[in-house]
Symmetry: C2
Subunit: 186 residues, 2 copies
């Protein structure tokens, strides 16, 4: 698929991409290695600083790359990448160059060494800010230090994993209740 | 709306409801008070024990009820409850009985004192197991100790919040890739 055309995006507003709960691709770099993993266990934790918490199992090759480099990029794939998302989750960076195996294009980040994935709708450059829960839960807390996002389509068709090989798709149907919200609750 | 008919559901498999990233309703009880809040910042953290992490801001009336009782129920609403979800997020338990204000039915839990919401598709009874990050991030880690879920419809139409008053809807479209997965990766 073609890369998305992207603009800089305000880091305080990245809940727009993560709070709906899509499966994401996490890219990382350490020394000469780069890798990608599929990740579904993440949550927004704060607007400013822009914090994201996520579980990265120690069984993943990416775990050590991220723990050592203290950086990663969280990339938001859309439905066109569904098979790559599954393939990336099923293979290991120990023996596979995933960018080349899945036809993805690495793009240099502006604030981290980990590469962005051009074919993803949005890219969030992250720095590790709290590793207190890594030992107990493999839970990493990152600050999003730079964000890039496409503007078309307005509502990307993201993949939301239910387990057991089934993804739910988002993006075609919305409900808008802006007028019902207290302004400070938006 | 009518309550969902529910069965007991294995706690190790509740990722099915939470990993796709729906907005949820959190119910709590402390002494004579019960309350409900809307919550969008949550993640699965482990299968067994069944762990869920989430951010509950100290600005919420529910914060103290949950901190003191060390319990809550995470309820999964579907699109029929969209206006209640917004209303619950816009009002405070300090001056509103939200069950009565939004026409919801409290049902006693089996393992916690916090009530289940009958009109939600699934109910996850939770006990607080790690409060280490409450002080820094309002981040609570719960163990799901009992789960109840409807079986119809198979794919519930859940609400996924993007900020700015806009919800994306799930449930009508899926992609199934079970055969592409390594068995241990499902």
């Amino acid at each position: 698929m073609k890369p998305y055309r992207k603009n800089d995006f305000p880091v305080a507003e990245i809940r727009r991409f993560l709070e709906p709960g899509p499966i994401v691709l996490v890219s990382s770099a350490w020394r000469r290695e780069i890798n990608i993993m599929t990740m579904g266990w993440h949550t927004v934790m704060e607007f400013t600083p822009s914090l994201v918490g996520c579980v990265i199992s120690g069984a993943n090759h990416s775990f050590e790359l991220i723990r050592r480099s203290k950086e990663c990029v969280i990339n938001i794939p859309t439905v066109e990448l569904a098979k790559a998302v599954v393939g990336i989750g099923n293979s290991s960076g120990r023996d596979t160059d995933k960018f080349s195996a899945f036809g993805l294009t690495p793009v240099p980040g502006t604030k981290v060494r980990a590469p962005l994935i051009a074919e993803c709708y949005a890219n969030l450059e992250c720095r590790l800010v709290d590793a207190r829960l890594v030992k107990t839960y493999n839970f990493f807390i990152f600050e999003v230090v730079m964000a890039h996002a496409a503007t078309t389509p307005r509502y990307p068709r993201t993949l939301h994993y239910r387990g057991d090989g089934v993804f739910m798709l988002s993006g075609t149907s919305t409900r808008r209740y802006r007028r019902l919200f207290r302004p400070d609750m938006l």
